[in-house]
Subunit: 349 residues, 2 copies
């Protein structure tokens, strides 16, 4: 009981002390100096939205024209993530239980990727051009001059250039389920807008992180059908269980299963518009949806800077190690576990 | 049991991640830039010793001459802390139990203070000129030109000038028991040397913080005797129970009472010499002894900068709220508690 009170007090105190209780992300009218960025945001692990940091990027005007992009990238092969719903790296139903489903990743000529994204149709096929492996500097190198290679003030603050720069081209169907990254993230929206739900690392128990068996979509362009298959040997992925936007039919059930999320403090909600940059601090949980520009696209570039694995990280690991109502691993339904057991003798846990 | 393992893992991880396991405090050959200071020390809450930050201070040469000090401060009245042992703000035996004993504070002309310090004799009277209320800028204002008013690189990093600047003039008998401060502390040693034991905030349970009844020494110059009296109404002060240097006779008993301290990871140990500056991060537990210069004195000036009450502070409070072997308040002996109960009807807890 003592720890329970302590954890709830921690949620409250983190909001009280440095984040504010309004659930509002602080906005800066211009980029901070390196010292301000360190002192006011990186050190306290606090997000902000920065205006006027990328207004000089050629991308801001030229990328609103899909044919310009197709022309620039006419010779490029890019990775496109295909799913039936727009939700990749997300929980998906499988044999009356849930698994952690990854997209079918296909490398295609860029103009074809753009067609797939533009003509996506939910419950059939949704395409999202993205690959979180520094793809902007590899697959999309011909766009290099359209954006800055890094943010000078962030690079000076953090003491090194970005570890990875990723490009994201999607539509209104793509969404990213709650997760956290071990990077300091500067997320620049170029066209359309991104809707973020943000929760500080101290809220870890509210997301009911549990081990789910990994599965991957495979897509047949002949039949236009997706298959979702468990990896073999079975691999478990710890993932957040909470869908913050359940359907009307599942709402009651979800709210009963995840009361710490639905009855606790509201997430910080923010919309990052074209031309704005979100500082998404390391270890913050985030859920992302997007709205499109006139051409039907949402395009963003994010810069992952190495985080410091310091006392904050150690505190987080300690907090996470404490069982608090939602016991880890308890959610994999017995039913699916049994199926896995009978499917495979050599799965790893 | 689960939390116990987690807390021990936290001690280990904090050392592994950013402090190093050698128990050594990092040394810088010159002051860091504001960005380096924030990134490499304030953000990770990590101490360091800085050389060549105060070599230009006139104090470094002029304060080694006590008569120069007496002359400069001939008209000044200063606060001097008198105790029988050199230990103020420390636990002291009282009626077969322990209390938190504060010094007898007396305001005297500076030359008299210097005599008291120079002729201190343990078990009779030990004097320590200090007052942690910005005394360097008030009582000692005539010395202002001998030191810099602040450290430019720290002030720029932290975003404000020091909240308080304190002067400490003592001898080899004065020591400060384990405690923490809610400030970022830059501790400049001018003459003699300071020996620090440092423990990160995550080690809080290893210091067995318990509530002790507050008491104050009173000193009669007529008899040359100290009296130690409990405050009325009773006030309890949470204080670290561990004396890291127990006498040979009490050693076994102390090690049995405080196994988490004596059997756990060793504290970071460092000596800060005349001309060096210690960055003592906010919330770090520290114990201080000192060695004297040729004139028999140890003189230091410390700069207290406001700390950020941010996610690290919230994590600390959460950690401290967890009971872990050493239950808070359990140590006030029943015997003393009974005496207090019968002494006073209106004590506050």
């Amino acid at each position: 009981m003592k720890e329970e009170n302590g954890i709830e007090e921690l949620w409250r105190e983190v909001r009280d002390l440095s984040l504010g209780n309004g659930g509002r992300v602080e906005r800066l009218e211009s980029p901070p100096t390196p010292v301000q960025f360190l002192r006011d945001f990186i050190t306290p692990n606090k997000p902000c939205i920065i205006s006027n940091a990328i207004t000089h990027w050629p991308a801001l005007s030229s990328w609103t024209n899909p044919s310009h992009l197709s022309q620039s990238l006419s010779g490029a092969t890019v990775s496109v993530h295909l799913t039936p719903t727009g939700a990749a790296d997300a929980l998906a139903p499988l044999r009356s239980s849930l698994c952690f489903a990854s997209a079918h990743v296909q490398r295609v000529p860029f103009p074809h990727a753009l067609d797939l994204i533009s003509f996506s149709e939910p419950s059939k096929l949704v395409a999202y051009a993205q690959q979180q492996n520094d793809c902007f500097r590899s697959e999309y190198s011909s766009l290099a001059d359209d954006c800055d290679p890094h943010f000078g003030w962030a690079t000076e603050a953090i003491g090194s250039e970005p570890e990875a720069v990723n490009l994201w081209i999607g539509n209104q169907h793509s969404r990213t389920s709650f997760h956290k990254d071990h990077y300091e993230n500067l997320y620049a929206v170029v066209t359309g807008e991104k809707h973020f739900l943000l929760l500080p690392p101290t809220d870890v128990h509210r997301l009911y992180i549990r081990d789910y068996p990994a599965a991957t979509y495979s897509y047949s362009s002949d039949t236009g059908e997706f298959d979702l298959e468990l990896e073999k040997p079975t691999r478990y992925v710890p993932w957040c269980s909470v869908d913050p936007y359940p359907s009307l039919e599942t709402m009651d059930n979800e709210m009963t299963k995840f009361p710490l999320y639905f009855n606790g403090p509201r997430p910080f909600e923010c919309t990052v518009k074209a031309g704005e940059v979100l500082y998404l601090p390391s270890m913050w949980f985030h859920h992302v949806r997007q709205g499109v520009d006139d051409g039907g696209l949402t395009i963003a570039v994010n810069y992952w800077y190495d985080m410091q694995f310091d006392i904050k990280y150690a505190y987080f690991n300690f907090l996470q190690s404490i069982r608090y109502r939602s016991a880890p691993s308890a959610m994999i339904s017995d039913k699916l576990s049994e199926e896995i057991d009978s499917d495979s003798d050599d799965y790893e846990h």
